[in-house]
């Protein structure tokens, strides 16, 4: 049984755009039990100390991708991170790094949403088929080529792990590029050529300097760093081979 008397200090970086020039830290003393996640700690603060504390959450089971935050400087999903693992030390919480802070722990994700759209994150069929012709069949090997990247839950922890995105917000970034790669690797998809313009562009894969922290923090083990680096090779091939292609094709 856990000791019901345990209290952990949680330091939260607060920012209220209506009153604050810049974010500032506030420390809360939160009673906790061993089964409490960091998200539950934050909910406790909202319910008991300050109802204006703002944060995103939904599923509480590491699949919706809403509750990411910097926990002691590391991007993590707060629902699957436990207070007991930090006790008796203080925990510091901050909105996901590199994104603009909207309020408290909520960031502005509109840039990411645009990037996600720009990768054509859907199957562009290689060959058009009518329903009468039946389904697109796929072998387990073909499935194995992309399933790893299909596990992405758009939590954007990888963006908060990416110094290049922090330095250059236009970088398409690890998450969207991993999703792009997921569709390129799908045997039913024929959209790789269409996606190449983005991959090979100045906002594309070459902004990455292979720090590879994105793959380290990904809660779904998607390995975006590998997806980005494979596409550097693809874009390099395209860079030189485009001169050999017949004119008019792209």
């Amino acid at each position: 049984m856990s000791d019901p008397g345990k209290i952990i200090e949680i330091e939260v970086l607060r920012y209220n755009p209506e009153n604050d020039e810049a974010p500032h830290s506030t420390v809360y003393k939160v009673p906790f039990t061993d089964d409490m996640s960091v998200l539950q700690g934050v909910q406790y603060i909202k319910d008991n100390f300050d109802g204006s504390l703002t944060f995103r959450w939904s599923c509480r089971m590491a699949i919706c991708g809403s509750c990411g935050m910097m926990i002691n400087g590391v991007p993590k999903l707060s629902c699957e991170t436990f207070l007991r693992d930090y006790y008796p030390n203080r925990i510091s919480l901050e909105a996901l790094a590199h994104f603009p802070i909207e309020k408290d722990l909520v960031v502005d994700w509109s840039g990411f949403m645009e990037k996600l759209e720009s990768v054509h994150p859907y199957i562009i069929p290689k060959e058009k088929r009518s329903p009468e012709e039946g389904e697109y069949l796929q072998t387990p090997e073909q499935f194995g080529e992309y399933i790893r990247y299909a596990a992405c839950i758009n939590c954007t922890l990888c963006y908060s792990a990416c110094p290049q995105f922090g330095l250059d917000p236009d970088f398409i970034g690890p998450g969207a590029l991993a999703i792009l790669h997921r569709y390129n690797m799908d045997s039913r998809d024929g959209g790789a050529t269409r996606r190449m313009e983005l991959v090979a562009s100045e906002e594309g894969v070459f902004t990455c300097s292979a720090a590879a922290y994105c793959s380290e923090v990904c809660p779904k083990h998607v390995d975006p760093a590998n997806a980005v680096n494979i596409n550097k090779i693809n874009a390099s091939k395209d860079y030189f081979l485009r001169f050999l292609r017949p004119k008019g094709e792209s």
Binding site: P17, A22, H98, P100, N229
Partner: protein, 131 residues
């Protein structure tokens, strides 16, 4: 009127905030060691092209304690470059398949280290062959 005023945090000192980035900055900075060695070789090549006197003077300068210390530092930098280069290979290489099976990350890293030892042995034997 919108009350939105998104706050953009500065990036100053980003690399000091996480041990992972400290290692990243260290392995990126091995480039200065590789650059210093390339420039050393370039100077040597230019001296070689200037004739025997110039070359001998360059060889003699390599024997000074300062030059030895300099090269010991370069060696440390180059070894760390090689180590970090192969350590990162599971991320930088496309999947490697042998006999239809994808190699695991640790197998790729080990393969890299074996290649590094083989490369060093090749250079050693090459110089022996020339000597």
């Amino acid at each position: 009127m919108s009350k939105r005023r998104p706050y953009i945090r500065p990036m100053d000192g980003w690399w000091k905030k996480n041990p992972f980035f400290i290692e990243y900055v260290i392995h990126e900075s091995t480039a200065f060691f590789v650059l210093a060695y390339a420039l050393t070789l370039l100077v040597g090549l230019v001296r070689l092209g200037q004739g025997e006197t110039a070359w001998s003077a360059w060889l003699a300068s390599l024997k000074t304690p300062l030059a030895i210390v300099f090269h010991v530092c370069l060696l440390a930098g180059a070894v760390y470059h090689a180590f970090s280069w192969f350590k990162l290979m599971p991320v930088t290489l496309p999947p490697v398949r042998i006999g239809g099976r994808k190699l695991r990350a640790d197998e790729i890293v080990t393969g890299g280290f074996v290649a590094a030892v083989a490369g060093a042995a090749f250079i050693y034997l090459l110089v022996w062959g020339l000597a």
